[in-house]
Amino acid sequence: MDADSDFQSVHWDSTPAVEEDAQLGFTPADSRPATATSPGFRTDYETTADDSDPTVPKWDGYLAVQVTDPVKELEGTKDMYISYAVKSQTNLPFFPQQSMNVRRRFQDFVFLWQHLSQDFAACVVPPIPSKHRAEYVTGDRFSPVFVEKRRLDLQRFVQRVANNPTLCRSTLLRSFLDSSEWSVSMHQQTAHPPDPEGKTSFFDTVTDTLVNSFSRIRKADERFIEMKEGIDRFEEGMGSVDRLWSRARARENDLSGDYHDLAVAVQGLGFLESGITEQLNHFANTLLEYSSLIKHNVNRTQDPFLSHLHSLQSYTAVSRGLLKLRDQKQLDFEDTAEYLSNAQQERDRLAAIRDGHPGQRAGGISGVGGYLRERVDALRGLDDDRARVERMRKLDVKIKDLQAEVKKVQDVSEAFNDETLREQAIFQASKQSEMKEMLGKVADGNIEMYQQAIEEWDAIIPMLQRIRVDV
């Protein structure tokens, strides 16, 4: 439960003092006080990876990626596509340069995502935006709105990859961000899948499960139950916020239309009231301005928020997928262990028979099977004792193999546990920072809108006050 407590205490916001202290890493001081206070422990990431808690993610530097400047390539041909500038800044030691600037197209992002997903099965590889086939059919995929939305989605995707210290080390990512020969890298990647990279991926290629996946985990790990519940609650919360926020957004959109109509109506009133036409026209303009402020807010604040929220929802779904995979690994281990224990029981039973204690049989299926086998052997006239010894020898070999296998599977499972905990911490950090970004942007957008609206209303009031009243 050591790892558990470590995991639980990973809160990036809980140690505001961290920023002050250049010596402190991102690991909360309270979870690893010993390492956190030793200066320079993280200069070499290889050693750091070895001597630190595997369940706690560490960032050894930064990698900031911007996807900008979409440009139409091969315009006018049927092969026209959009390329994006991918600009990165980093101080990570394994990047050849601190500043990188390449152009990539959507397919390249998809390629990166596919291969990261294959190579880093134990990582929460952020989702790639869908291809939006409808836009391909209607030809809308070059519309500014669509391109901008995709740019934002791609930006989010690469930044999430960059925020994951494990994925950061991927050579594929490195060439994606840096290589001028990206197409060569793509071919290499496809032709020669790289060896498991770094200590984190040695089990990523572990073959699939021995048993059907409907089995349930026998010994549930509370850490993961809690994690799953956390994700459930988060998804539920996002779901209801999404639903209600979308409704309020639609309403704002309608209100924008209403104020537009009201502006027209007030202008119409101005035509009738020739004495105050000018003032009413000004007032109508203010209403019109207000209407477009609302519209602008919907387009520039509410819509991006919702789109980010949806993106975060799919990211969360990937994170949930990793938890399922972890459960699978635990099942692998539990099933292998059970197989081993069955073999051991059988061997013990045989040994007991040889030792003259035939009554001491382990119950259950193996007992019945053993009995049948005895009867078959007897009918064939085989020598019971010799056959038994032979089988015990075989069993011993099998048990030995199985013990090795169980050890391996257990290692995998445990490593996967650690990896999951670490990935969850990484996901939590991403989630927090994205929530911060989303909420911050919404607040900024709203404040800006209200500010501008106040200015509009402020401006019209003295204008209206100048209307001459003679009652």
Partner: protein, 581 residues
């Protein structure tokens, strides 16, 4: 009720000198000067070229002020009057709406009206009856509207009946208060003692209804002088004036009022068809939006509970900002209803009140024209009769002078006599046929004549036919018959002349007063539109301010969250990067 008659500015003026003071006319603008010939005698004018009155850019001409020297009266008629005209900016308040069943089998709502230190209690139906009384007493004034009987506030979220009722009562309370204050601020209506008594705690309203002047009001307001319908001394004169239908077109319409009517129609359509509709729609939307925010705020607050630390705090504060939007939107909605939607409705009502007023003036104008035609006809026939008479006299004198009876002449005389009678008889039955309009203008539609007129006309007709047949049978002296009809026609003419004079005065008075009150109304409307726009702007500004503050707090909480560890400014990044492998 003598007191109240004294204070009526119309009455005192007009009682002294029935012809409307010409000073009012000469004081007024160019329009007023042109107006004189109209009323001077007959057909003269009506082609006034006044710009549609409401929309003048020049400082509002005030024929109005001249027309009614707006009464700093010598003596207040009662304490309410004293309070209303104390010179201070007084406001009548409806301080409460109480449920009571006093004097009734079922319960009803009374509105507590506070004027200064006096509180009177009146129910809705009494407001209604006050308004109707004022409409009858002042047929030429724009009597402010009261809220319509059935609330059309369908935008309100109807949750249950009781709540709806409460909203309806609150709404009535507000609008009735507006009504009372509009009356109190009106330069003429505010002097009306009936109104004062309405505000008086100790006066029973039914008593007011059954005492003069209200008890003296004629059934048909067109059969009474415009300046004082309660004055019955003109009843005889008005008996001779026809009561036309409003649908009948004028021969010489007054362009000013045609313009007024066209404008009022446009105004009403724009208000009720466009502005009210849009306002209702956006109020519904605001109401939904408020509801959305209430739910979203709750969802965000619940969501924040599943998180911890700064994120939870940021989410909670965002939820609070959304909650604040919900609260402020509810207030915005309330303000919108009270300072924008309700005045819009009120002005839609004003528009139909003005249309009624214009109809009244139209009818008064018709009365004048019809009376004029009637008189012309009578004069014509009188002329005819007198021509016959003088012819007869000439023949008589010739006959008596020549001493011998010329049979031929006698025959000629007889024939001309018969002719005259034929003319006469053909004319009278026509009158009978056509009811109240004895002049030949069959092309125009006639309203059913009031009973009195028909009886009279019928009476004459019958009498004439009778006398004719008697003459025919008995061969009475035709000369006597002719003289008889001459004197009758003369009598009618003199009656009609009186009626025409009254009608001319009426028309002039109605035109002037309506025009003046329309001018006053226009000024009031500009002031109200200004206030409406201003309060709409202020309400929105306030709404924005409140929301902005709430979001600023949320932003502060969001800013307190730690940034992602992967960023250039992070502690590790300040260290020199390790040499590339």
């Amino acid at each position: 009720m003598d007191g109240d008659e004294d204070i009526n500015p119309f009455r005192t003026e007009d009682d002294v000198s029935p012809p409307i003071d010409e000073s009012a006319n000469s004081d007024s603008n160019a329009a007023g000067e042109e107006e004189e010939p109209e009323t001077a005698t007959q057909s003269a004018k009506t082609s006034l070229t006044i710009s549609p009155m409401p929309t003048t850019n020049k400082p509002f001409p005030s024929p109005y002020k001249a027309a009614f020297p707006a009464a700093p009266k010598n003596e207040p008629c009662c304490t309410r009057d004293m309070w209303l005209h104390s010179g201070e900016d007084v406001e009548i308040l409806i301080v409460d709406a109480l449920k009571t069943s006093e004097g009734s089998s079922s319960s009803y709502i009374v509105y507590v009206i506070r004027t200064g230190n006096v509180e009177a209690r009146r129910r809705y139906s009494e407001f209604e009856s006050l308004r109707n009384s004022l409409v009858k007493l002042y047929p030429t004034l724009i009597i402010p509207p009261i809220p319509v009987k059935q609330s059309i506030g369908e935008y309100a979220v109807k949750q249950n009946k009781a709540k709806e009722d409460a909203a309806m009562i609150a709404r009535r309370k507000r609008m009735l208060q507006v009504f009372l204050n509009r009356v109190a601020k009106h330069p003429i209506l505010s002097n009306e003692h009936v109104f004062h008594r309405f505000l008086d705690r100790d006066v029973s309203w039914s008593e007011v209804l059954h005492s003069p002047p209200l008890s003296q009001l004629p059934k048909n307001s067109l059969k009474a002088p415009a300046h004082d319908p309660a004055d019955s001394s003109y009843a005889a004169v008005y008996a001779a004036i026809p009561t036309p239908s409003a649908a009948q077109p004028l021969r010489r319409p007054d362009q000013r009022f045609l313009d007024s009517e066209a404008f009022t129609n446009k105004f009403q359509n724009h208000l009720s068809g466009t502005m009210e509709k849009i306002t209702r729609r956006s109020m519904k939307r605001w109401s939904d939006y408020s509801h959305d925010n209430s739910e979203l705020g709750a969802a965000l607050n619940g969501f924040s509970l599943t998180e911890t630390g700064a994120l939870a705090n940021a989410m909670e504060k965002t939820g609070q900002a959304v909650d604040a939007t919900y609260m402020s939107t509810a207030r915005l909605l309330q303000e919108l209803e009270q300072t924008w939607y309700e005045p819009l409705q009120e002005y839609t009502q004003f528009a139909s009140i003005i249309k009624k007023l214009l109809t009244y003036r139209h009818q008064k104008h018709l009365q004048y024209e019809l009376t004029q035609e009637l008189l012309d006809n009578k004069r014509e026939s009188l002329e005819e009769l007198e021509r016959n008479e003088s012819e007869a006299k000439r023949l008589d004198s010739a006959l008596t002078g020549s001493l011998h009876v010329d049979t031929a002449t006698a025959a000629r005389r007889a024939s001309s006599d018969a002719e005259a009678e034929a003319r006469e008889s053909s004319q009278e039955p026509e009158a009978e046929e056509e009811g109240e309009s004895p002049f030949p203008s069959g092309s125009v539609t006639r309203a059913t004549p009031p009973p009195a007129a028909r009886k009279r006309a019928g009476g004459f007709g019958l009498l004439n036919t009778l006398s004719h047949s008697i003459q025919g049978i008995m061969d009475v002296d035709p000369e006597a018959a002719r003289r008889n009809s001459i004197s009758k026609t003369r009598e009618q003419i003199s009656q009609l002349e009186d009626a025409l004079q009254a009608s001319a005065q009426d028309l002039r008075y109605a035109s002037q007063t309506i025009q003046a009150d329309l001018d006053r109304f226009q000024r009031q409307k500009v002031a109200d539109l200004r206030d409406m726009c201003l309060s709409l702007a202020r309400t929105h500004r306030e709404w924005c301010k409140q929301n902005m503050e709430a979001w600023q707090e949320a932003k502060t909480a969001v800013d307190q969250m730690e940034p992602h560890p992967n960023r250039p400014g992070s502690p590790v990044a300040t260290r020199p990067p390790a040499p590339a492998a």
